[in-house]
């Protein structure tokens, strides 16, 4: 990693802390977009321009589509209080520091997981999941010299697409075709009277 790449990785980590602190959904979307752009610049600094462009388009599309499809919910309460969340984030960052060259991506990954666990709002959880991919893209950028296709493959926005699909389904809240076949039981449910004990 060169100096620009490391600096942008550090900025992405700081923005992860920002995401944990965001009270408003709009601010969280903005912080996520900025984090993704920081990761894209870090990837571009490793001469993986295609992966950087793909990642930039992906991170800008997520907040835009979330707003277009009206799946942006309220940020909601925190599961944990702010001091506890920040203390946990600090401990996780310190743990990640032991990972050598993967310290920055690992810290972003762990903070993304913390965001998923600490904030019950679906939109913030989806942003936390998208952060996981940003961590993987940042880690893959270090390998652009030896495996040029790896950053591009990792930047393919599969996880953001699944997160957006989950948000859409959460917002829909009904049977998509408007009908339910007669006698149908939800998956995994046993018939009544199936209790042996």
């Amino acid at each position: 990693m060169n100096a620009l790449s490391q600096g942008m990785g550090g900025l992405a980590l700081i923005l992860s802390f920002g995401l944990l602190c965001a009270r408003r959904t709009g601010l969280a979307l903005l912080l996520f977009g900025l984090q993704g752009l920081a990761v894209s610049v870090a990837v571009a600094a490793q001469h993986a321009l295609s992966a950087a462009a793909l990642n930039a388009v992906s991170v800008l599309a997520v907040p835009w589509l979330a707003r277009q499809w009206a799946v942006v919910s309220a940020a909601g309460d925190r599961t944990w209080s702010m001091p506890v969340t920040l203390a946990a984030a600090a401990v996780l960052s310190l743990v990640a520091a032991a990972a050598g060259t993967l310290a920055l991506p690992l810290a972003i990954l762990l903070l993304g997981l913390l965001l998923v666990g600490a904030r019950p709002s679906p939109i913030l959880q989806a942003l936390g999941l998208c952060s996981l991919q940003q961590a993987a893209v940042l880690a893959a950028s270090g390998l652009a010299g030896t495996a040029p296709l790896l950053p591009i493959a990792v930047a393919v926005p599969v996880l953001p697409a699944l997160a957006l699909a989950a948000l859409l389904l959460h917002a829909a809240g009904g049977w998509p075709t408007g009908e339910r076949p007669k006698g149908e039981r939800p998956e995994g449910e046993w018939p009544q009277g199936d209790r042996l004990s």
Partner: protein
């Protein structure tokens, strides 16, 4: 090796057809027909004259098709989208068997997991929750793949096993596939200068899954509805321990364990309500003698006793807890024994476990020594 890419064609075509068909009876026929076709092909292809050397992927293709067929036969009537999602999941699982780049395997695993989540329709909130939870697992696994490519085996191996493990917790059907991927990971990293780090992680993970499943069963008493899935997880943990310790004998026992697990789960799906066949299936799934998983469990425990005797104590705690909950969940009185399709997989499991024909035993041994 079975051309798993070709095996995936019938379920893909069936998925497209199922979306278009509206008649419930025809959809059921298409659903079952596609699974049966894949099962027949998967059973026949390894015995063809020009077939390549057998590998674990051959066995898993058969197990996936058998599991899907049982589900299509015994499962409830479902919406066309749900049936199509089931076929898509089968196709993705077959495609993931093909030895390929870890990122490609992860992509198919993501597809299988997403199709599995779609089977929870019409409860869209449940699908959304499953998608979000599955996404966490896939994110961890993605990071693990990249970390491994970067040469960081401890971080990469741990992230991959955690991600895959979480996927299996969400969808136990993916268990054999994830075990195969773990075996491939072990084979890929074993040659490097990391000792048997991934193997040790697999043993720790398997033991953790077994003990956690037994603890949940003992403390929460989740009832008969969740018992099969938790028991499957625990048995998967046992197989993971065996695979992690390595060696052809334990790998043979692990493969037989997976086959018997699929047969026992199929028997449970096919069994009637509160009959002797359901009781036998539940006991077999928990590893209680003489039916179901007991023979392969005995093989794995015997192998572990030779290679790592210290593992026997925690494993015994987990297995005794599992058996205890299963026995405690059984009713005082059951209905009379009657002819049920569930006895077919149970008898097959009994045959495989205690009187495996020599050609099939040789086939399993060949798979155990072949690269995964």
């Amino acid at each position: 090796m079975i051309p798993s890419t070709g095996l995936a064609v019938p379920p893909l075509l069936a998925a497209a057809l199922l979306v278009a068909l509206h008649a419930t009876a025809w959809r059921r026929r298409v659903d079952q027909g596609a699974c049966l076709l894949v099962l027949l092909l998967a059973l026949v292809l390894p015995w063809m004259a020009d077939a390549p050397a057998p590998s674990a992927a051959d066995l898993l293709a058969i197990l996936f098709a058998a599991g899907a067929l049982t589900d299509a036969v015994a499962g409830p009537s479902r919406h066309r989208f749900v049936q199509a999602a089931g076929q898509l999941r089968l196709a993705a699982m077959l495609l993931a068997l093909r030895p390929a780049d870890p990122l490609v395997s992860l992509l198919f695993l993501a597809l299988a997991s997403t199709a599995g989540a779609a089977r929870r329709l019409p409860r869209t909130d449940a699908v959304a929750a499953r998608l979000l939870a599955g996404n966490v697992s896939l994110g961890l696994a993605l990071f693990g793949v990249v970390a491994l490519q970067a040469g960081s085996v401890p971080i990469g191996g741990a992230a991959l096993l955690l991600g895959w493990g979480a996927l299996v917790v969400l969808d136990p059907t993916l268990l054999p596939l994830v075990l195969l991927l773990a075996l491939r990971l072990q084979a890929a990293t074993g040659a490097e200068s990391h000792g048997n780090l991934v193997g040790n992680l697999m043993v720790a993970g398997g033991l953790g899954v077994l003990l956690a499943s037994a603890a949940v069963l003992l403390l929460r008493r989740p009832g008969l509805r969740r018992l099969p899935n938790l028991t499957t997880l625990a048995q998967g943990g046992v197989a993971l321990c065996g695979f992690g310790l390595g060696g052809p004998d334990l790998r043979f026992a692990g493969l037989v364990h997976l086959a018997l697990l699929t047969l026992s789960r199929s028997a449970l799906l096919l069994s009637g309500e509160a009959g002797l066949d359901r009781l036998a299936s539940l006991l077999g799934l928990s590893g209680l003698p003489p039916i179901g998983l007991f023979p392969s469990l005995a093989l794995i425990v015997g192998g572990i006793a030779v290679m790592a005797p210290w593992l026997l104590l925690p494993m015994a705690v987990g297995l005794v807890g599992l058996g205890w909950v299963c026995v405690a969940s059984l009713p005082a009185a059951v209905g009379p024994a009657h002819l049920s399709p569930a006895w077919l997989p149970l008898v097959l499991a009994l045959l495989l476990g205690f009187a495996m024909p020599a050609p099939i035993a040789a086939w399993f041994h060949a798979m155990a020594v072949a690269p995964p």
